[in-house]
Amino acid sequence: MADRRSHLIFISYRGSDENWAIELVYARMTEAFGDDAVFKAGNSLRFGEDFPPILRKEAASCPVMLVCIGPAWLTATAPDGTRRLDSPEDWVREEIATSLQAGNYVVPVLLGNHNEVSVPKPDQVPESIRAMVHRQAWQLAPGRLLGATVPMLIDRLAELVPELAERRRAKSTAQPASGTTMTQHNEVGGNGLLGAAQAGSVYVNAGSAAQSATGDGGPARAGRRADMPFESELTTLAEAAAVALVTAMGTNAWTSVRDAVVAVFRRGGTKGHDKIGDRLDDHASLVFDADDQAGERAALEPFWQLRFRELVNAAPECAPYLAEIIRVRDDAARPAAGTHLEQHTTVRDSGRAFVAQGGNVIMHGDLAAPPSGTTGRASTPDGSGTETA
């Protein structure tokens, strides 16, 4: 690791803030640009390392700093009750000031809905980081729009820094070879919640809790939740099937996944089902030809989610076959024989982790308003992680 390439994105965050979203940002950035492009203290520092000089060096040298600002960012207090941001020893404050001084792009990334979090007012932050409040911010609100806002952020960053665009191209064309070791490191603390999958995906189904609250009012018989209405299962399935479909485009899983999708529409017999095969081929070739395959897939996903939802609304008996699409994709996307998958997870400070290898982690519930004060988050999909020979 001594000669590793320099990091390009510094993720600045408070450990006590919106952990789910910070992990999501980290996971998506490493997925798009590679692990070695992204610096996040919790993931990038090694045990025993003297962190102050590393933090200062990385904050100054990374051309981009994403300042993750959740609802607790501004008001977080130290054990003695004073506001952390007012302390000269606050590392968040110091790293932002360092990046601003170095002339880097400092992007406030607002984690939450508009009514929960906004760019701080100039008089709410110390002088040394005041310039940050005038920098163009980016909002990541929980819910389905994340499927669009995160890829857009990635696109903007690639436009901003040419080297990030290069890393993204290199990442999207790299294929793990047989005999490769894929390692995924996960860490959770600060009462946070982590979901991570290797050779599988993490899905967030943000709508289900909101729907169960207003759902069919059936008796809650398992745990403390009301029975999840069937409607939201179909939505979950439609989302998951759309993700499975677009992630198969442009890969060797495509033929089998395409056949499974054609079969499910034929079974439903809905209007236009005979044209699905042509549409699939069109979309697959769009992805195949795209410079930015991940962006193309993200753009196509809502289209297929809607088609799948329409299908199961018209023909609910087709729902289980959506799950079949996911299975087909999972089968085809299994790691090559001889691949060594390693998944390391560390849990500290009352954190909770849900991890899967060769399976998916599906997170349900309204991430914006968790009942217990903790928040859900998702990270690190499809086998991403450090690659070592």
Binding site: G189, L193, G195, G200, A209, R221, A222, G223, R225, D227, M228, F230, E233, T236, P316, E317, C318, A319, P320, A323, I326, R327, D330, D331, R334, P335, A336, A337, T339, H340, L341, E342, Q343, H344, T345, T346, V347, R348, D349, S350, R352, A353, F354, V355, A356, Q357, G358, G359, N360, V361, I362, M363, H364, G365, L367, P370, P371, S372, T374, G376
Partner: protein, 202 residues
């Protein structure tokens, strides 16, 4: 979820390569699986937990005729079969299921137990089929599960069929009454499983 300060460290090799899952809990909780999906609420409660069946004291003398019916059900050719086993408390449903589980495990079947969350399981669970002839999932107190959880359970990667299509899947749902069975059977109809119910007389 693992207990605090424990390490889950399954390491296995199969045709798909070597899987290694290491979970280190200093303070908190973790739940890890290999070869299956996890469904989790946003507040960190698992919808359900899956764990490998652990050897219980089998009782082959228990309810011979009922056991015979379950053996036959397992041997059947259907690739996916779901059975609702029900009877009043104390009729030996759990013991019967355990006996079937023990026999199946000895016959090279994978046996997995599902319980509704929240709850704890000992450590990271390797749920891959490997070279097993089939998989049996035992869902005790199934009448306490929302039907939608059971429907979601069936989409789990745990039941991913092997490419050769030979893997047989058996799901044994255990309840005190059969009240929930017709509705669930209707929901499952799209999967086209062989469905059946079996009543244990007091």
């Amino acid at each position: 979820m693992t207990d605090p300060a424990s390490d889950g460290d399954p390491e296995l090799t199969d045709a798909q390569g070597k899987f290694e899952q290491r979970i280190h809990v200093e303070n908190g909780a973790a739940y890890g699986v290999i070869g299956a999906d996890l469904h989790v609420w946003g507040d960190g409660t698992p919808l359900y937990l899956l764990e490998n069946w652990r050897n219980q004291a089998a009782d082959p003398t228990c309810r011979i005729s009922d056991l015979g019916s379950l053996r036959q059900w397992r041997r059947d050719n259907a690739s996916l079969a779901v059975r609702w086993l029900y009877g009043p408390p104390g009729t030996g449903k759990t013991r019967l299921a355990d006996t079937l589980a023990g026999e199946s495990s000895a016959d090279n079947w994978k046996v997995v137990v599902a319980t509704p969350g929240p709850g704890t399981v000992p450590e990271g669970q390797d749920l891959r089929l490997g070279k097993a002839d089939g998989i049996i999932l035992i869902v005790d107190r199934a009448d306490h599960w929302p039907a939608s959880y059971l429907a979601l359970l069936l989409t789990n990667a745990l039941f991913r069929r092997r490419p050769d299509g030979r893997t047989r899947t058996r799901i044994l749902l255990i309840g005190t009454t059969a009240d929930d069975w017709p509705g669930l059977r209707h929901k499952l109809s799209g999967e086209q499983p062989a469905t059946s119910s079996q009543r244990l007389e007091p």
